[in-house]
Point group: C2
Chain length 504, copies 2
């Protein structure tokens, strides 16, 4: 844009400084989870609080509001897809949301979450929900207040979900999940009644962790992750963060006795990392230099982890390499046995260890219970029973204690309700995007089967990555696939892949 | 203090937030020098600029000024040594200095330094002073303006030196250096005329870098460095930084063919690190949670590196351990040969590679030339000749080119004049402190000879570390030793140690 209005220049300047504080926070959090010695925790909490509070205060300032108001009318005339129009449009949306929540409520949720997190770690260790109960009640109350402050038309949950998945509605999620459930619950029952396929023991042979690390790095390089603009470190819980479009940090963890932990964790985080590295450079320091939503971000990690990393084609290329790197452990393993082992389906208690098919059922339980709590259909003290009932209904198993049930996830203790659905939405987006990529790229399967991913990565960058937060998830899905989000592609994918695997 | 005045509470709150930004900057700088991929540099510069600019703006605010003014009179009645009186006294001094420099001048020096640094790297690579000349002229001009803005009574250099060594005067440094020079220049000439002692080749035997790393860590542990409150990483240029009193980061570098690089680098940084870990916890987040000055900080690193780490007593304990860890390289080495090799004196061109005796002469050259430039006694275009003349006079050698001469150090390109003397002041402080410790701790030499440093560390903490920035260097030296800073202890130390080594 020639002759950018002065207000836009000033807005960019202010958003740039705010983004610097967010990125600095990200560096401090990354260090906290990778290298920080235990003694650093107390001071680090203060430093993060100061950075985050300052970024928030700067963002909700009247000055930002005035600049946005001055730009609202002119920006409506600009090309919708331009960086400039998108900056004004998306920042207005962020600003209006941020201004609606009273700062005192933000502070109260932060305090309550700190206490709730402490209580949750104790409750989980003791498998005693009663320890967590008063804290969860407080978290739910505060989330209701936040939803009321943000406002919503239909469901209270809409306001919370919107924080993580902009413009997505609860009713749409419910419909998608009902469609999924109708197919997945019977499928899981059928599979569970079979003699189990997949020799899990072959995945549990001890493997040198340095070699595991090197194998993962080689795959990341093949995927197109740029190590001049990023790196991988170790952490207890794997995550991806970015300090700039040109500085993207992955972490992984290594289990000497179960190599899929590092292998699929690395590929998963690599998918997130490619998204961050693929943002258009023109978005740097604008606040639009991030994923479109948690669900869209997750679509990229799931696409690489599951649709590619757990596919036959992928292992046509990598299985011989795995055997070469680990001849003692893999030399005698049959390709089909390996492929089945990494795709074994089995109802289990813990979400983060669940397979591709049952995973979504874990999410649905959380989505339904969050709504039941927020809309007061379930007493929170009765949550463990409600949880176990749904586990039995969807997965056919009942956790022996609450540590393996309702207490397993950290999210609620962190004050976050409305977050969980984005994991399953990521699965749905991933297949719908990938189906489109298969239509657009001739010979994609052959490329994957020979370890060539550059055309796919170009496609992802062109269609998804470069846009950052310019479009809502719904806009992006429509642009990329010509359709709205549907469960059909995902269901077809699951039925075909696991139908073959389990000879259904 | 009971019933702390409201203004003091508010001051603490504001200084706490400012300190958070400084500590966050330290994390970003540390990452930049340890783990950051090349692509991260551009965004990192913006992030650091935003954090540092914000910290400066917050600090020089009228609100801080009003709080300090309100506290000036009451604080004068408080116990001088109390945290509260010290906070007001030291912060007032910092504030008044910070307010005197026009923000435009700060910004201009920052811009000029960025360009000067780029030019310096090119000039050094090409050994061509002309490339750096216009930038150094600009840096000197701006430093003169800064000195004028800060104000001074006697010498322009006083104002610049005061930034790094509070209250130290140029005249005092000149006198100390004259005393040193009168002894060191003839000593170096005498030694240089001898057949050289110390078989350097025994230090150049290849050694596994992991074992070098482990040997260094073991020494750090023995020194009392707390790895629950700190860690060591690798970097190109070793440094120490702190993100909190309880999170202190050392770095070292490893040379497979010259183990003294890592060994003495680690001990040196360990000395800095012990200082940071030894600050009183009551100073955390006040801005007084730092060393008293660069010179005092350097006294701690030099004390551990030279007075302990290059002493006979130290190696009585560690030489057998070094031989055990490196039997191939050290098994056949005689103790005396080793001790002489690590204490070899020889005039060389590069300051950072200089030995304990010649090091100070390198510093004097810089101190004298900085004053000559600032007081316009030397044309900057003639600096290389002036440099080489002093090298010949003090060290008896002339650099073959400017990369090995006037262009070797980064400091001027970073805009810093007045910094260099603190290195030699550190040497003087270190011996004066250590002589006092020897008087106060009975059997200290025996403790060192058996690898026991806890009583020494306690002494350092009690007398130096815990005070942080509460006292000026002059106040601290008087408190600890009962005297003002003198070159006598250092000269006696050097004459005795090297007199014995070189049988003079």
């Amino acid at each position: 844009m020639k002759d950018e209005p002065k207000e836009l220049q000033e807005l960019r300047h202010r958003l740039g400084e705010i983004r610097d504080l967010h990125r600095a926070s990200a560096v401090l959090s990354w260090d906290q989870q990778t290298y920080m010695p235990p003694g650093g925790a107390v001071a680090r909490a203060e430093q993060l609080a100061t950075l985050q509070r300052t970024a928030h205060v700067w963002f909700i300032s009247d000055e930002i509001g005035q600049l946005l108001e001055a730009l609202r009318a002119p920006a409506a005339e600009w090309d919708y897809d331009s960086d400039e129009a998108s900056l004004v449009r998306v920042t207005l949306r962020d600003y209006e949301k941020a201004r609606r929540i009273p700062p005192a409520l933000v502070a109260e949720l932060a305090r309550a979450s700190t206490l709730a997190y402490e209580a949750w770690t104790k409750a989980k260790a003791a498998a005693d929900f009663a320890i967590f109960l008063p804290h969860l009640e407080k978290i739910v109350d505060l989330n209701i207040q936040i939803a009321e402050a943000l406002g919503y038309q239909d469901r209270l949950y809409d306001a919370l979900l919107d924080q993580y998945e902009p413009d997505m509605k609860t009713a749409q999620v419910a419909t998608l999940f009902e469609n999924l459930k109708a197919e997945l619950v019977p499928l899981v029952k059928t599979i569970a009644s079979q003699t189990r396929l997949g020799n899990d023991a072959i995945l549990r042979r001890p493997m040198d962790i340095q070699k595991q690390w090197d194998f993962g790095l080689a795959i990341l390089r093949d995927m197109g992750f740029d190590f001049n603009r990023g790196r991988q470190d170790k952490s207890v819980h794997p995550f991806t963060t970015a300090f700039s479009i040109d500085d993207v940090r992955l972490t992984t963890r290594l289990d000497p006795n179960y190599f899929p932990t590092a292998l699929f964790g690395t590929i998963h985080e690599g998918g997130h990392g490619l998204y961050e590295q693929g943002l258009a450079k023109t978005l740097e320091r604008t606040g639009l230099d991030d994923g479109a939503s948690l669900g869209i971000h997750e679509s990229q990690s799931r696409l690489w982890e599951n649709l590619i990393g757990r596919s036959q084609a992928f292992w046509y290329h990598y299985f011989p390499r795995l055997q070469q790197m680990f001849p003692e452990q893999m030399g005698d393993v049959d390709f089909e046995d390996f492929y089945q082992a990494i795709n074994a389906v089995k109802p289990t208690f813990i979400r983060v260890e669940a397979d591709e098919v049952t995973y979504n059922l874990h999410i649905m339980i959380r989505f339904e219970l969050e709504n039941d709590m927020l809309e007061r259909r379930v007493h929170i003290r009765e949550l463990p029973e409600a949880w176990n009932a749904k586990m039995e209904e969807y997965l056919g198993i009942v956790p022996p204690n609450d540590a393996l049930g309702v207490l397993q996830d950290v999210h609620w203790s962190g004050g976050m309700l409305g977050y969980f659905p984005t994991y399953s939405l990521g699965n749905l987006y991933s297949v719908q995007f990938f189906d489109q990529a298969k239509r657009d790229i001739s010979g994609l399967a052959d490329q994957i089967a020979t370890g060539h991913f550059s055309e796919l990565l170009d496609w992802l960058r062109q269609n998804i990555h470069r846009h950052g937060r310019k479009y809502t998830p719904a806009e992006l899905v429509a642009r990329v696939t010509g359709n709205e989000l549907t469960a059909k592609n995902y269901i077809d994918y699951i039925k075909q892949k696991f139908g073959e695997l389990y000879a259904l």
